[in-house]
Structures are given as C-alpha cells and as structure tokens.
C-alpha cells in the first residue's frame, strides 16, 4: 500500500515546545483546492495503473482540522468526481491534535471512511498550548472536550506520546495517565527528536529512553490484557514471541518505495522530516505521477543503505531484523549521510536485551532474513 502523507496545512495551534514546525521560518501555508484536486487526480491515476494496489491518505500537518470541515467535504467531492472507479481502494486516516474537532466534522469523516483518529497529548504543563507561556490548561480543556465528542460519536482514537526529559521523572505516572484514557486505538511512546541546541532541556538520550521504557514495561507486561496496544511493546511481542512481522516505518527497513510526503504546494519528499530538511525531494505532483515519485532514483540510496549498514554499522547485530538500522533520517541528522544506523538503534537493542527479554523470559531468535554478516 502506498502511503501519502498529506501536509494539507503547516499551520498549527498546538505550539508544542519540541516541535520543529514552530521554529521554522517561511512555513505555515495550506494546500489550495487546486493542489488538492491534483492529489486525487494523481491518486486515481496511480490506482488505475496499479489495479492490485491501495492508497492510504494520511491527513497530516500542522494541524489538519484547522482547514475546517468544508475542506474535507470538498476533498470527498473531489474523490467522488475524480476517483469514481478507484475510490474503494483509498483509505483515509488523520493525525490531529483534536482541539478543533467539532460536531461539524462527524459526518464528513464518516463519509471519508475515517473511523479512528490519531492524536497526541502531553500531560506535562506548558509543553503545548496557546501563547508564549503555552497555556496547557486551556489546551487540555479543548482536548478533553474533543475527546468526549469523539467518543460520543463512536470514533476510535489512538495517541502518540512524545517522551521528553520531563517524562523521565515519573515514568509509571505517565504510563498510567495515558492508558487511563482507555484509548480504543494504540498508544505510541516515541522519543522526542531535537535537532537544535535551544531546546536541549527536553531532549532525551537513547539510554534515557531505554530506562523510561524499562520502567514501564513490567507494568504493561504484567497487565497486557488491560493495556493491549502500547508501542513499542506490542510489536515486539508480535515479532519476538508470536512469530509475526509488525514493525513501524522507522524499523521496517522497507519505507523506501512506499511513502510520499506532499507539502501544501504539491512538492513531494520521502516523509515529513526529509521535507523539513530539504532532502529526498521528488518534485511536484503537478509535474510527476505517483508512480514516478515512488520510483524516483533518489530512493535507491535508501534501499542500498540497508545493504551498506548490514555489513557496516549493524554487522553482527542480533536484533537487526527488529530494527534494520532504524530511520535513515536519524542517520542523516547525525552523520550527514544515510549510510549509517540510527543512534536510536541502541535504544532498541538496549531495551530488548535489558528489559524485554529478561522480563518476558523470551529471547529473540532471528529468522535469518537478510542477516548482517
């Protein structure tokens, strides 16, 4: 399935302390209806040319609900008009801070087939919210009101929690707080990614992230029927214990030919971060088809990276199949090129070896799929 990350707007009302978007100059545009039309034209073209394929269209931002319900209604109309023979193979998803969610979105989200909303939340005071002081109380009230509305209308919801330095003080409290929302979807625990010196006060090291996960893993493991969908724990159970294969994009090693990030002006890139950093730029959707973009030769360097690091940085690593060197963009941010592993690999391996395996009593047995030498 091809994943379109649709940055329909770069405006955002969250004002998160750790977010790159708020620190970038010259950002904040929204996708015109003309570009939006082009998105659906290209989607239809791609699906017609690839009859067995599906497309996931992830509404992202910025804050995508700032565009208002009318924008999504127009998107649905465009899909009806331009994708009449392919629309059953288009799946919509959305990542939103929810604070702008109102009754007016309910019907159009149902029309688009959105049954569950992805969001994020931070109980730490003043990490997000309006104004220079980040009025988190006002923000949280809007969020909770929206959650109530989301649940009342039968939508599911899942959450990303960004682990910062402030999270490290009381990992168990953070875990209980977030799981007490009784999310119908998953809870993803991701480390904050800080690339400047200004906000180092909230950055966490891979080692600190391991300790954070390690502090809460026993709570989850002992009650995993109560807290079913907490990541990265659940996917590790799937891969290590259940013999399945479930890895996030950063660990799968297979993002190369699947993702397209579309900026408000129609410019494409590999993902949100590569777009932010001006890397892996694949041209504008006015000029190129999704097939062309998905097979852009620049992507080959991501494919080749796997071979390079398997015999380089990751040679001999026993958890290679669970990580594949991690996100190439992490490697670029540290080394200036893709041919290295992510520094977060150490967190992955450290957590597995120091916490997951001893506590679960199950040791990861590699399947031998493309093992590093």
């Amino acid at each position: 399935m091809a994943s379109l990350i649709l940055k329909a707007t770069e405006q955002c009302n969250s004002n998160c302390y750790y977010c790159d978007v708020v620190t970038k100059r010259g950002r904040g545009g929204s996708m015109s209806l003309e570009v939006l039309e082009q998105v659906f034209t290209r989607t239809n073209e791609y699906l017609e040319n690839n009859p067995g394929e599906r497309v996931e269209l992830l509404w992202h931002g910025g804050e995508p609900l700032l565009l208002g319900p009318g924008y999504y209604r127009r998107a649905w109309e465009l899909q009806q008009e331009l994708c009449s023979g392919t629309r059953s193979r288009i799946h919509h998803a959305i990542q939103t801070n929810l604070t702008c969610f109102t009754e007016a979105f309910v019907e159009i989200f149902r029309l688009l087939g959105i049954g569950s909303l992805g969001t994020s939340y931070d109980p730490e005071p003043h990490m997000r919210g309006p104004g220079p002081g980040r009025d988190s109380d006002a923000y949280n009230r809007m969020f909770l009101r929206a959650v109530s509305l989301v649940e009342r209308h039968g939508f599911g919801w899942g959450m990303i929690y960004v682990v910062t330095k402030r999270s490290l003080e009381h990992p168990a409290d953070v875990f209980y707080f977030l799981t007490n929302f009784r999310l119908s979807g998953g809870l993803n625990l991701n480390p904050v990614l800080i690339y400047d010196e200004v906000r180092r006060d909230v950055a966490v090291t891979p080692e600190e992230f391991v300790e954070f996960l390690g502090a809460i893993f026993p709570l989850w493991w002992n009650h995993r029927a109560r807290y079913p969908d907490v990541e990265p724990f659940k996917s590790l159970v799937t891969n290590i214990i259940d013999g399945g294969n479930s890895l996030a994009c950063v660990d799968s090693g297979s993002c190369t030919y699947q993702h397209i990030n579309i900026a408000p002006n129609g410019d494409t890139s590999q993902c949100g971060r590569s777009a932010d950093w001006g890397l892996l730029q694949y041209g504008n959707i006015r000029d190129r088809s999704f097939d062309d973009i998905l097979h852009d030769r620049q992507r080959d360097q991501l494919r080749d990276r796997i071979t390079v690091i398997a015999s380089g940085d990751c040679a001999g690593c026993r958890v290679w199949e669970l990580c594949h060197g991690g996100c190439p963009l992490d490697a670029w941010s540290k080394h200036g090129d893709f041919a290295h592993k992510s520094e977060w690999c150490e967190a992955r391996r450290g957590f597995i070896e120091r916490y997951f395996e001893p506590i679960s009593g199950r040791k990861f047995e590699p399947k031998g799929a493309f093992l590093p030498s």
Binding site: L144, S148, H170, V174, N180, R182, R226
Partner: protein, 288 residues
C-alpha cells in the same frame, strides 16, 4: 417516563409527584418505614428500596418480621455488640436487606467481614474519616476470594460483576451516586446527582418531568463527562493505577491520604484475577 431512579425524602407530598417512577426512600428512622412504604405505594411509585440511615449500632436495633419483603439499604454507624447482632440474625437472614457501615474505621471493616461471613449482604460506605486502606484491601480480598460461602460485600461484588476494561464502571451506584442511574431529590422537590450536589445547589432539574427528559440536557451530558476533569491535573487521580475502577471517588482525600492509590491499584488486579478465574471455571479435583 425517565429511566432514573429517584432518591427522595419519604414525604407523602413529594411522593405524590412521583407516581409511576422508581424511587429510593430516604429515612432516618425505622419507625417511619411502614408509613413511607405505604405512602409510596399509595402514590403509585415503584419502590426500588428504602435507604434507612440510623445513628445507632446495628445490635441495638429492633427489626420487625413484617419488613421481610421490603427492600432495605440499612446504614448504621457500627455493628455494636456481636452478641446483640446474633440475636437479630434469624430475621436479618429472611429480610431483603443490605447493611452498610462506614469504611472509615478498622472495627467497621472487621464488622463488615463478620456480617458477610454470616451470609449478610453488606456495603462499605465512604464515611467521614480517613479509610484504613490496608484493612479495606483485606476486606476486598476476602469478598472476592474467600472460599467459605459469605454474603456479597459492596462495592467489591458490583465491580467483580460489572467491571469491563473498555467501559466505565461507576461503583458509586452502590451508594446511589451513579448519575446514569440515580437522581437525588430534596425536600423542596429539586433534583441533583448526589446529596452533595443538592447541597451545593447544582440542580439537574426542578420537576420530575425535567428528570424524565434529562437524557437530552446539556447539564446531564456535562455531568456524565465531568470525570474527565481529573485529566487536567498531571499528578492527580489520572495517574493512579486504580483509576479505572475508582474514577476519582476519593479524589478529595487522595492528596493527603494517597494510600487509596495502592488499595485501588491492588483491587483492580484482584478484580481482573477474579473475573479471569470465573471465566476459567472452578478446578475439578479427581474423584476416586
């Protein structure tokens, strides 16, 4: 007609406005029981139970055989002398009665356990003082896992039967304080979702008809959602492992007496264990 059960003073004039509705009659004396039940029947109200709150220990009460068929929630401050209670037991066992004791003393928690062991249905009520949480937890363990047959002990029995991981289970219904089930009426005929809200003037309605239409009111919807406010506080009840079953029932005292956290965290574990073992069924021993 609404679905809420109306908790009201046992006043004939008030009851006359509640014909056809389910009611809990609030009484402070057993002497008024016959009259109150008669008034409710006369008014055509459906008696859910009579909630009788007394100031005397259980052992000092005089119970009448004619009350056998009246559903009664009896709240007393203590058990009193066990030898006195033993004398009441033959009749209590025939009655449709639950006996509530405030959980704010170790003696009462022991008293609840003794009553339960005699087959009496009991309820641990909040009381006005600090709860000895360790003893409270012991009572929960006994109620859920005691192998010798005993009477149900609330709120543990309610939680064991109704707790679900993906739904809200408000055990305060055992004290008539679940807003999805009960509304409280004062002597002036006004309605709120708890005695405290009545006292604070947070009225859900002013007439029985308004209560009938309460599902459509913003006030009701907001009240049902009011539990979410706990998530505005980073270090409050929302970060408690037992939140899923407690729902902040003790949030007013949790800051000064945080041991409720361990008690409800442990209780949640026990509820889940109890439900899991109920699903598995009882172990069959070999037979010769």
């Amino acid at each position: 007609m609404g679905h809420h059960i109306i908790v009201c003073p046992a006043d004939a004039a008030l009851l006359n406005r509640l014909g056809g509705r389910a009611v809990v009659l609030r009484l402070t004396s057993l002497e008024d029981l016959d009259r109150a039940v008669g008034d409710a029947r006369q008014a055509g109200a459906l008696l859910h139970c009579a909630a009788v709150e007394l100031r005397h220990p259980l052992g000092l009460l005089t119970l009448e055989e004619r009350w056998k068929d009246i559903p009664i929630a009896l709240a007393v401050p203590s058990v009193g002398r066990l030898r006195d209670v033993v004398g009441l037991m033959p009749l209590i066992r025939q009655m449709n009665i639950r006996i509530g004791l405030p959980a704010d003393s170790a003696e009462n928690l022991t008293g609840l356990r003794i009553l339960a062991s005699w087959g009496v249905a009991c309820t641990a009520t909040p009381g006005s003082g600090p709860i000895p949480w360790d003893r409270f937890s012991d009572l929960a363990t006994y109620a859920l896992f005691g192998l010798v047959p005993h009477g149900p002990v609330e709120p543990f029995d309610h939680l064991a039967k109704h707790y679900a991981a993906n739904a809200r289970t408000d055990f305060r219904g055992v004290w008539f304080e679940d807003p999805t089930r009960f509304v409280h009426m004062d002597a002036s005929g006004r309605f709120a979702f708890s005695p405290a809200e009545l006292a604070a003037g947070e009225f859900a309605g002013l007439t029985p008809d308004e209560v009938d239409r309460i599902d459509d009111s913003d006030f009701y919807r907001n009240r049902l959602e009011s539990w979410r406010a706990v998530f505005l506080e980073k270090d409050g009840c929302a970060s408690c492992p037992g939140w899923r079953i407690c729902l902040g029932a003790f949030q007013n005292t949790a800051r000064t007496e945080p041991r409720c956290r361990d008690a409800f965290g442990g209780l949640l574990d026990e509820i889940e264990r109890h439900q899991a073992s109920a699903r598995k069924g009882r172990r069959e021993l070999w037979q010769a």
